[in-house]
């Protein structure tokens, strides 16, 4: 269960004399649902909200708890439970090839090197990525990279997967493939998107605007609210 209680994130103004900027203001949410989507315009606070969930961003006020663990006081425990997927998988893949990247994730849990390599190969095979195991990550397509990033995150068996606009850089085929993969995940999934079809896959959609939650409910209602708010012209 993810719980945010009166969470605010305030950062100093970018120039001297400028007022502080509120990225999130007094957000309180309890997220027991299996699939939660966060939508909102660019700069609305979606990424800040998601980054709070694995302690990459610390709240300046309030508290964030994941399965009872505070993201401030127990950040290691939180990161062990919450896997994070970036918009650009290249920013997330730290090793030169898929198998090396998955092995890097496994270093903390599997001490034996040969066992680690075998397990990494098996995890890649399970996602039909086995044939790409030794290719340079720079030679993979965007969709393949995103699936490799997901495999690396899932290798440590997190309880929650947080994905920040994971489909933004993908073409239609890869977007559909990732949606299928997400649908099969046993973990709780919290993600943000600008794609309303992807948002509709969730059980609950939270709409963020100006750092505040402005709508929160079933996908049909939240998406209708958001589309009405974003409408331009007559």
């Amino acid at each position: 269960m993810i719980e945010l209680e009166g969470v605010s994130v305030v950062v100093p103004g970018s120039r001297h004399g400028q007022p502080d900027r509120t990225l999130l203001g007094d957000v309180s949410l309890r997220l027991p649902e299996h699939r939660v989507c966060v939508i909102g315009a660019n700069g609305s606070g979606k990424s800040t909200l998601l980054r709070l969930l694995n302690g990459m961003r610390q709240p300046t006020a309030g508290s964030v708890r994941v399965n009872g663990h505070s993201t401030v006081d127990e950040v290691r425990a939180v990161r062990a439970q919450v896997g994070f997927i970036f918009t650009d998988p290249l920013a997330q893949l730290l090793m030169s090839t898929p198998i090396e990247d998955v092995e890097l994730s496994l270093r903390s849990t599997v001490r034996n090197r040969r066992e680690r390599t075998r397990l990494a190969q098996r995890l890649l095979d399970e996602r039909n990525l086995g044939h790409l195991a030794h290719q340079s990550i720079y030679d993979l397509s965007g969709g393949e990279r995103q699936l490799v990033a997901l495999t690396s995150v899932l290798a440590v068996e997190p309880h929650v997967v947080v994905a920040d606009e994971p489909t933004t850089l993908l073409d239609l085929r890869n977007r559909m493939a990732l949606r299928r993969t997400f649908a099969e995940l046993p973990q709780q999934l919290v993600y943000s998107t600008h794609d309303m079809d992807v948002a509709a896959d969730a059980q609950r959609v939270v709409v963020v605007d100006g750092g505040r939650v402005v709508a929160d409910g079933p996908p049909v209602e939240s998406i209708a609210f958001y589309e009405a708010a974003m409408r331009v012209g007559p």
Binding site: N54, M56, V75, R76, R79, A80, G83, F84, F86, D88, L90, A91, Q92, L93, L94, M95, S96, T97, I99, E100, E103, L104, S105, R107, S108, R113, R116, T117, H134, Q135, S136, Y138, S152, V153
Partner: protein, 207 residues
Amino acid sequence: MNTHTSVFGIFEPGPGWLFRLPVGWKYLLVLVLSIPTLVVAQWWFTLACLAVVLAVAATSGLVPRRMLRLGWMLWAMLGVLFLFHLATLHPTAAVMRPGNILVAVLAARLLTLTTSLPVLMDALATALAPLRLVRLDPAQAALAVALMIRSIPFLMGTVDDARDAANARGLGRNPARLLTPVMLGAVGYAERTGEALQARGIGDIQS
């Protein structure tokens, strides 16, 4: 985004003897093949070492085409060195200076093309174990080296990106104009890598 062939290459499993050789022996082989060229300092010795490195590679199934795929930037640098010494009437130096660099890089590739990065990291962490005496974590030092190897193609690609952007805006080929975007690209890359480490809890786990 442009990316480059890594100077160190990418490991792919193979059946050759070099692939089966323990990593410690491979490190030793790199030193044995590259250091004598600096000590002997003879043009013919450099060429002989070059031939030996390529022969060692070939006996393990690493064909010259794969061994010599170093990316155009390194080849250009070696070419400039060669021409500079030739123009200053030092033909032996024209062979030795770029030749010794080439021998060292190719000897290093014998290691990196036949050994996976996790194996290299483990070996490096073992070799750096004395760092614990000064309260440094050898595993983190090894991870830093692995991240450096991974970053080379990206950082070389940022030079191409900056040049493409300059050309698109008609800013000409002045290398000085590339400095700022390349530096910003490198800083941005470092920030993203830091975030990824943080998100994956890798620094937390290793420390």
